[in-house]
């Protein structure tokens, strides 16, 4: 894994591959690269580019074959995939609006000056989650400032933040259909606050694979392997 934000996607991609190769001890000229994710079109050196939904479906089938619904939460995109046998049946994504993606948490983190990684944990202490009325992340920011002014507790504000994000993710999930075996993947999947808020919305437990961040890239690698017939 390598963060793609601060440098060009191509540069970040190369570094991640080089590092992975070094760790695995594979020589550099023997690989076939399949690229997926939001920046896939930015890697011209790739052998192939495949859409996120297809790679996620394949990846999750390898890790958790019983899963039929995937929710992939990235910083700038959320994706709901209905799948079976390693193939997607229905894919719905939101990359237009920050209110339904990880960016929403990032905006809250900036205004509260608390790292995103700590927010979930704090939200779990909430006893009386405050309802956040604004959908828009920019408006929610001002709403949170005034909630702080009125003396609301940090954990209750964060409880409300996770609740509102979970509600929007739930409606994305409803559009593909929710199965009992639902996996949460992506960069923010391991956030306990988010996991619990989503569970509260859908009314049952969700699964989070150990390699939550790599489900898409694992799927891409498997597809690549099939291509070269290895």
């Amino acid at each position: 894994m390598h963060p793609a934000e601060l440098e060009s996607a191509e540069c970040a991609g190369k570094k991640a591959i080089d590092k992975a190769m070094k760790i695995s001890g594979i020589s550099k000229n023997s690989y076939y690269t399949v690229v997926t994710g939001q920046g896939k079109s930015l890697i011209p050196s790739a052998d192939e580019t495949i859409s996120d939904g297809v790679c996620l479906a394949r990846g999750i089938y390898e890790l958790m074959p019983s899963v039929h619904t995937i929710l992939d939460l990235g910083i700038q995109k959320s994706l709901a995939v209905k799948c079976s046998g390693g193939y997607p049946n229905k894919i719905i994504s939101n990359d237009k609006c920050a209110s339904g993606a990880g960016s929403f948490l990032q905006v809250v983190s900036d205004v509260l000056e608390i790292p995103v990684e700590r927010m979930g944990e704090i939200s779990l202490k909430s006893t009386e989650a405050v309802e956040i009325n604004s959908t828009c992340a920019v408006f929610a920011e001002s709403e949170i400032i005034s909630l702080l002014h009125t003396g609301k507790k940090l954990e209750d504000i964060l409880g409300g933040v996770y609740q509102s994000l979970a509600m929007r993710l739930y409606s994305l999930l409803l559009r593909v259909g929710i199965d009992r075996e639902l996996a949460l993947v992506g960069g923010i999947a391991k956030d306990k606050g988010l996991g619990q808020a989503i569970e509260a919305q859908i009314g049952h437990k969700i699964l989070v694979p150990e390699q939550a961040l790599f489900v898409g890239s694992l799927g891409a690698a498997i597809i690549g392997q099939e291509k070269v017939g290895a």
Binding site: A137, F139, H149
Partner: protein
């Protein structure tokens, strides 16, 4: 007869003091976190301004006060409240009697209003859910590029290679787009022009839905941005008229409604 209108918006608080002869004084301040305090302050300062125009005027001399805007219910000293939609239609109609289509672009919302020749609302569309298409969007763009809001419009008109394309509609994502464009060496003014274009693209469908008729008038704080106005005019294909101080139109409408109330009471 002296009446006043007070418009407590998300970003600005405005007052118009009206006599039978017309506007005696108008005043605008930032609302800030304490909107009740802002309501008192903007009214007190407006009365002071009115006092220098008409000797010996105090708050007690104001016969009726109508409050409007997002924070209208918190104004402690108002006699009644009227919605901002009605006030914008009324205020713009008083300044431009021929107006039929109004676009009021505020700090945190945007309204497209169709009204009749008496300034009565026929239909309207409003966005207060999404920051794209409101003053907030421009504020974010300005702060990302390190310029003042009041310079925005003029700079946006001085492009180097034409308006840059800001591909994301969402304000949060657009901020990232703007940083990326800057990193790619795109001229600041071209990005500002791109932001003006983007906000117009976001707003235009609202105008289409209410149906655009002559005359077209714009109000609200964003109307001070000449870059946005030029883009709007191009998109709509009509001249956009505006009052020299477009932020006071809501308060003006409220003051006019206050005057109606007084006239009606006097008749009874």
């Amino acid at each position: 007869m002296i009446t006043a209108g007070i418009d407590i918006g998300s970003l600005s608080a405005n007052v118009v003091v009206l006599s039978d002869a017309g506007i005696v004084a108008s005043h605008t301040i930032r609302t800030g976190a304490d909107s009740v305090g802002a309501a008192w302050r903007v009214m007190r300062e407006a009365i002071e301004l009115a006092d220098s125009e008409a000797e010996g005027l105090s708050l007690e001399d104001v016969d009726y006060i109508v409050a409007t805007g997002y924070g209208r219910v918190i104004v402690p000293f108002s006699n009644s409240t009227v919605t901002e939609i009605a006030c914008h239609a009324r205020g713009n109609n008083w300044v431009f009697p021929e107006v039929r289509t109004i676009l009021d672009m505020g700090g945190q919302d945007c309204k497209a209003i169709r009204c009749d020749g008496n300034g009565k609302v026929i239909t309207f569309e409003m966005n207060d859910k999404c920051a794209a298409g409101t003053g907030r969007y421009l504020e974010r763009a300005a702060s990302t590029l390190g310029i003042k809001l009041r310079e925005f419009g003029e700079l946006a008109l001085q492009t180097e290679e034409g308006a840059a394309i800001i591909s994301s509609m969402c304000t949060v994502y657009a901020q990232r787009d703007i940083l990326l464009l800057r990193q790619q060496g795109v001229h600041r003014n071209d990005i500002l022009a791109g932001a003006c274009k983007a906000i117009v693209e976001r707003i235009f469908p609202m105008l289409s839905r209410i149906g655009i008729q002559e005359a077209f008038v714009v109000s609200g704080g964003v109307a001070n941005n000449i870059g946005v106005i030029r883009c709007l005019e191009e998109k709509v294909g009509m001249e956009a008229q505006k009052h020299s101080d477009p932020q006071i139109i809501g308060a003006l409408g409220a003051a006019l409604f206050a005057r109606d109330k007084m006239k009606n009471t006097n008749h009874e």
